[in-house]
């Protein structure tokens, strides 16, 4: 019978993204009487995000979860939602990135490459964690080597916050923190604990500098094959999946915090205003186009 959509995912089977997408597939299959189903391939088995985009564009893979950094590579305007402190909270973020009035044009901007963006999952709010002591203001980061992803925005962000950005594969961060090669790293609470970094960097400081987003992309031609009725079911179940993911993410975050605290990690508040001020130049210099500025303002005015 029906068509099974192959979805490439970079996370494990235990991750909220896999759970929400897997359930999405099951509900879609039910709602369309088996005409459409989704099979999620976790753990990058179909390729990392950079390749997954190419495969979706070529039609080899139907759907993929890719980060904003990857899409910004294709259309710079996606950078807006990747900037630090664009969103106050995960709710704010979800309201913006899944609001067709704000993102409609942006999400169809890649259709000449056969890519349609359907919406986004949160990656959670990222904060700094360090081994030597809490960070409360930018000056505390002076001379500290902080691990970043290979991305110019992340590099600039850490430099502006006062640290020394050190790109490194995430798998190597644990020993680097342990030995003092790194003084810290930045990520959400879930990764902080699942990678056991809380064992070697006991101070998690709530800089909340950035809330990352993972987009669901789909091959445009394949999406167009859906009947209006099936497409409506697809959209409806996708919205449910986003909500389920946000709930799962919150639970995972709470569990992670509890585990870290039980293991002796400490969570600290920071001088939010000082960091906000330090990061402003990055926002200003990144909003280079009218579209980018419009998106940024729309995001700001959607703040609760």
């Amino acid at each position: 019978g029906g068509t099974t959509l192959r979805l490439a995912l970079n996370q494990t089977k235990e991750h909220p993204s896999f759970v929400a997408l897997d359930n999405f597939g099951n509900r879609l299959s039910k709602a369309t009487s088996g005409r459409w189903d989704i099979e999620v391939y976790p753990n990058e088995t179909l390729g990392a995000q950079q390749e997954a985009i190419q495969l979706v564009s070529d039609g080899t893979v139907d759907m993929a979860i890719v980060s904003g950094t990857q899409l910004a590579n294709l259309n710079k305007d996606f950078r807006v939602f990747n900037l630090p402190q664009v969103f106050d909270s995960i709710e704010h973020q979800m309201n913006v990135v899944n609001n067709p009035d704000i993102v409609g044009d942006l999400y169809s901007s890649l259709e000449d490459q056969n890519l349609t963006v359907l919406g986004g999952f949160t990656q959670g709010a990222r904060s700094l964690y360090t081994s030597k002591g809490p960070i409360t203001k930018p000056a505390d980061l002076a001379g500290m080597k902080i691990r970043v992803q290979e991305s110019d925005i992340h590099t600039k962000m850490i430099e502006l916050m006062g640290g020394s950005a050190t790109p490194m594969a995430y798998g190597e961060v644990y020993t680097a923190l342990q030995s003092g090669v790194l003084d810290g790293a930045e990520n959400n609470e879930v990764s902080y604990v699942s990678q056991k970094h809380h064992e070697v960097a006991k101070h998690y400081s709530y800089t909340n500098h950035l809330i990352g987003v993972d987009y669901l992309i789909m091959n445009t031609d394949r999406l167009a094959e859906m009947s209006a009725e099936d497409r409506a079911a697809f959209d409806r179940e996708w919205q449910v999946a986003i909500q389920e993911h946000t709930e799962l993410w919150k639970t995972a975050t709470e569990e992670a915090i509890a585990e870290a605290k039980a293991d002796g990690a400490q969570f600290h508040e920071v001088n939010t205003e000082a960091f906000s001020k330090a990061l402003q130049p990055l926002i200003d210099e990144s909003l280079t186009t009218d579209t980018a500025r419009r998106l940024y303002e729309a995001a700001q005015s959607a703040a609760p």
Partner: protein, 438 residues
């Protein structure tokens, strides 16, 4: 026939037939992979998926450690480091029965502890030890087989390129694998030494004759210290987190360059030739890793590993039986195939199965590498076997005859490695590399 089954058949038949025809293994894996992908998604998409996997399979910072360790090995061969390690080995075991053969074993282990490859060691150490043994009346087949049998210990004793390949396909920590390799690697050398001991005990002409004074001992060992210092730089650097494995490999290169120039065995004009030699070895492995990445992609796409594991688990649910089946299969495969392609092909299929039994992926890595190392010296084919015969200026047959007792001893050790996890896991567990995160 459903597309997934068709893809599976194309892979199985295509790879076996092409390898048997003598097609380079990389192509024998690459072509069936793209054809199997075609059976699933059509040729137009398949060529993109396959070439993309080939490219990204190589595009890894971890993998970069391999060219550097290979280059360090070539530099060592040309830089006078091998001779110093042999001298050190000689003063350590020079008084045992069969002293020159024992020296060969220990020198291979020492060479292995600073280099990532086995073939280089068999060539460098055997090239020096063979003639010396001939002068003292050793059977030539015996001395070549000692050299062959002991050289693969270098793939188990870190640093080891083979473990880097495994870490890549299994997502395990290189540091943990390296530490887990010490026990089995040392057991490998001890097994060889035992066979040499039993062989030489009743042959009066092979008794240890070298009597060194204490001063000689100190002088020789001191000369080897700079070469052995590399262990501390590479392994210490990785364990302490000061360097990533790739960075420690480049440090090894720089260190070998400095030593080679200090010993006046290297010249700037000679460097291009050395770089080219390292490029050849590296590229052979690189292409294999690239095409294997295309192979494992199409296998995941068609969900083949799941089908195989269901089939295997349908036969029996005893972990012991399945492990023994896997080890026998790998011994047969390893007899004909080099460790790298075999690791790349079989890890994605076997690892999920053994993980279901609760076997540690690091432990399984040691098993699979140990097993395939045995394959490199199992007749009728094997790189190490051929190199050892060649540096011994022999045809391969006399070496094959003499190597059988070594094989028997090493297969016994293999069983120990498979069924006593502590042989591998004790050291990395003590160091907090397993179950400690990171």
């Amino acid at each position: 026939m459903d597309p997934a089954t068709l893809a599976g058949l194309i892979l199985l038949i295509g790879i076996v037939v092409l390898i048997a025809l003598g097609v380079p293994i990389a192509v024998a894996i690459g072509l069936p992979s793209v054809l199997a992908t075609m059976a699933l998604i059509g040729l137009d998409n398949a060529v993109v998926a396959s070439s993309q996997r080939l490219f990204t399979g190589i595009n890894s910072f971890t993998l970069l450690a391999i060219p550097f360790f290979v280059l360090a090995g070539v530099l060592m061969n040309n830089g006078g480091i091998a001779t110093r390690l042999i001298d050190a080995a000689k003063v350590l075991v020079g008084r045992m029965p069969g002293s020159l053969a024992q020296t060969n074993v220990v020198a291979n282990a020492l060479f292995g502890s600073v280099s990532g490859a086995a073939v280089a060691s068999a060539a460098a150490v055997g090239g020096v030890m063979g003639p010396r043994q001939r002068e003292e009346g050793y059977d030539r087949g015996f001395s070549a087989s000692v050299n062959a049998a002991s050289a693969p210990s270098g793939m188990l004793i870190p640093p080891s390129n083979t473990f880097i390949v495994y870490s890549l396909v299994s997502s395990t920590s290189i540091a943990a694998l390296f530490m887990a390799g010490y026990g089995p690697g040392i057991l490998w050398a001890l097994a060889c030494m035992t066979v040499v001991f039993l062989y030489s005990r009743k042959r009066p002409e092979l008794q240890g004759t070298d009597r060194v004074t204490f001063t000689q001992l100190l002088v020789t060992l001191r000369k080897a210290v700079p070469s052995l210092l590399m262990i501390f730089i590479v392994i210490g650097g990785i364990l302490s987190g000061v360097f990533t494995p790739t960075e420690s490999a480049v440090i090894a290169v720089l260190y070998c360059l400095v030593l080679g120039f200090a010993y006046r065995n290297l010249t700037v004009r000679g460097l291009p030739r050395i770089l080219l030699e390292a490029t050849r070895t590296t590229s052979i492995v690189t292409l294999l890793i690239g095409v294997s990445s295309a192979l494992s992609w199409v296998m995941s796409f068609a969900r083949i590993p799941g089908m195989i594991s269901d089939a295997l688990l349908g036969l029996t649910d005893s972990p012991t039986v399945i492990l023994i089946l896997m080890m026998i299969m790998l011994l047969v495969v390893g007899t004909f195939m080099d460790p790298t392609p075999a690791i790349l092909i079989f890890t994605p299929i076997f690892l999920p199965i053994v993980e279901e039994f609760g076997i540690d992926p690091v432990h399984f890595g040691i098993m699979i590498v140990f097993n395939l190392c045995v394959g490199t010296i199992t007749p009728p084919v094997g790189n190490v076997l051929f190199i050892a015969a060649r540096v011994g200026e022999l045809r391969v047959e006399p070496v094959i005859r003499r190597i059988l007792p070594f094989l028997a001893a090493l297969i016994a050790v293999l069983f120990l490695v498979v069924f006593v996890p502590q042989v591998s896991l004790w050291l990395p567990t003590q160091l907090g590399l397993i179950n400690g995160g990171g």
